[in-house]
Structure formats: structure tokens, C-alpha cells
């Protein structure tokens, strides 16, 4: 590597992302836990359930937690789906609004 390529390597050294990045990403990923994930076949899973969900559901039943825990579990799934839908909708509306404002300027 000549001096120029060494300078390029220095210029392109990895930079740390802003503080808290990993925490923000992990939190967002947890929020999208209900999102459909592609299976190996490439088809989205039905209703976007995470893979662990049926097992967790079965365990709840076996543990004898009863109907209350089951309903809470179902509620969390439904909530994640709602938030995912609204997140996508908000993103698209934001995009449209941004373009409309730019067009007016």
C-alpha cells in the first residue's frame, strides 16, 4: 500500500455510532417482535408471529398459568401488530408530508 492508500484507510477508519445506538436498536427490534419474519421458504409466517411465540404459548399452558396469562400473551402479540402497522403508516405519511412541503417551497 502506498502513502495514498494508507491515507485512505485512515480516512475511512470505522467510527462509533452515537451513544446509545445499540440500546435504541435493540429496543426497536423488540418493538417489532410481532413483525412477520421470512421463513426459510421465503414466505412470511402467518400473522407475523415470532418463532418463539407458539412455544411460549404452549409453555404457558403447561405451566398452568391459566387463561389470564394466555390472554395477556395474546394481547401483547396483538399490540405489537398494531404498533407495527402504525409505524409503517406513520413513515409513509411523513414521507408524503415532507414531499408536499418541499413542493410548496
Amino acid at each position: 500500500m502506498d502513502w495514498f492508500e494508507k491515507e485512505l484507510s485512515r480516512a475511512l477508519e470505522r467510527k462509533d455510532p452515537p451513544r446509545g445506538f445499540a440500546e435504541r436498536v435493540t429496543a426497536r427490534a423488540a418493538g417489532q417482535g410481532g413483525a412477520p419474519v421470512e421463513t426459510r421458504s421465503g414466505r412470511p409466517r402467518a400473522f407475523g408471529l415470532p418463532r418463539w411465540l407458539p412455544v411460549a404459548a404452549a409453555l404457558l399452558l403447561i405451566a398452568g398459568s391459566g387463561e389470564q396469562a394466555w390472554r395477556r400473551h395474546q394481547g401483547m402479540v396483538a399490540k405489537q401488530q398494531v404498533m407495527l402497522a402504525m409505524r409503517i403508516t406513520a413513515g409513509k405519511l411523513n414521507h408524503i408530508q415532507t414531499h408536499m412541503r418541499e413542493a410548496r417551497q
Binding site: F47, P54, V77, V82, A90, H95, M100
Partner: protein
């Protein structure tokens, strides 16, 4: 046991869907998609989910208010690795349904350079809003949203500023035209 649990859960969640107000007709694109999101929530699921939305969380409180009059939310979003996976005909088959008399287009933009279009349609019946449709297309992404029911448009527009999106300041009022 796991399979039985899956069936129970799927059975509960897969109660008959109230119709979306128009067909998305995008199944043929799913095989080409690198990423897809498919959400179908009927009224009773939404009411049930609302009980678990936290009033103390700004985003969740906003959503809870928005879905209070809503009977269904349907979202399909497909991402592709390359341009050209979807065609104008795919969009036209949806737009044709949104040309029915009860639908009106209220917002839209088209960017020829970026290959993007996006439109918002509102469905009304007896002067009341009964649905919203959003159609957004980019070279490598197609998203269709149908919100069924009494949607509060102000609350919907106000979603900017939530979900990590920047709050958009209100646009300056247009200058009044000079009278000739």
C-alpha cells in the same frame, strides 16, 4: 404440542376478516420480495390490543386514540432487491378500485426522477369518513395501507413526531393571490 398451540393461536387470531375495503392484489409479488410485512387486524382484535397500549407511552397513547373508532387495519409492504419487480399495472389494479365514487384522493405526489409516487385516499359515506387508503411506491418498495372505519384524519396526520419520526412544522400559509 407446539403444533397444537400454533393452531389455537392462529385459530383465535384468524377469525373471519371483515373485508378490507379494496383488494391489494399483491400476492404474485411476494415470491420476489426480499422482505415483506403483512398485517391484518379486525375490529375486535384492535379493541383487545388497545387494552394493552400504555397511556404513559407517547407513541402508544397516540395509537390508542387513533384506533378507538377503527374497525380494521390492513398493511402490506414489500421490499425488493432490485428495481423493476413491480409494475405500473400492479398499482393500477389498486387505483382502479379507489376510483369508485365513495373514494376521493386527498393527497398525492409523484417524483419522476426518484420513481416514487404516494397517494392518500379517503372513503366517505353520508359525509362521514369510513376509511383511508395509502398507496406508496418506490423503485424497490411497495406499501399499501387500508384503515377501515371512522378515522380521525388530524390524528393520522399528527403521527409525524412519533415513532422516531421528525415532527413536521406546519407549512407556511400560502400567500394570498393579488387581485388584478
Amino acid at each position: 404440542m407446539k403444533k397444537v398451540a400454533v393452531l389455537w393461536l392462529v385459530g383465535w387470531l384468524a377469525r373471519p376478516l371483515p373485508a378490507q375495503q379494496f383488494k391489494f392484489n399483491l400476492e404474485h409479488l411476494e415470491a420476489k420480495a426480499s422482505d415483506s410485512v403483512d398485517v391484518s387486524l379486525n375490529g375486535s382484535t384492535l379493541q383487545f390490543a388497545a387494552k394493552f397500549l400504555d397511556d404513559k407511552d407517547a407513541d402508544e397513547a397516540k395509537v390508542k386514540k387513533l384506533i378507538s373508532g377503527v374497525d380494521g387495519i390492513y398493511v402490506k409492504s414489500l421490499s425488493f432487491h432490485s428495481d423493476g419487480a413491480w409494475s405500473k399495472a400492479d398499482l393500477d389494479s389498486i387505483r382502479a378500485q379507489l376510483r369508485e365514487p365513495e373514494w376521493s384522493r386527498i393527497l398525492g405526489f409523484k417524483s419522476v426522477e426518484d420513481g416514487e409516487t404516494a397517494e392518500v385516499f379517503v372513503r366517505t359515506q353520508n359525509k362521514k369518513i369510513t376509511g383511508v387508503a395509502i398507496l406508496a411506491a418506490e423503485p424497490r418498495e411497495l406499501t399499501v395501507v387500508n384503515i377501515v372505519g371512522a378515522v380521525d384524519l388530524d390524528s393520522l396526520a399528527d403521527l409525524s413526531g412519533h415513532f422516531g419520526l421528525p415532527k413536521l412544522e406546519p407549512a407556511p400559509a400560502p400567500r394570498p393571490k393579488k387581485q388584478e
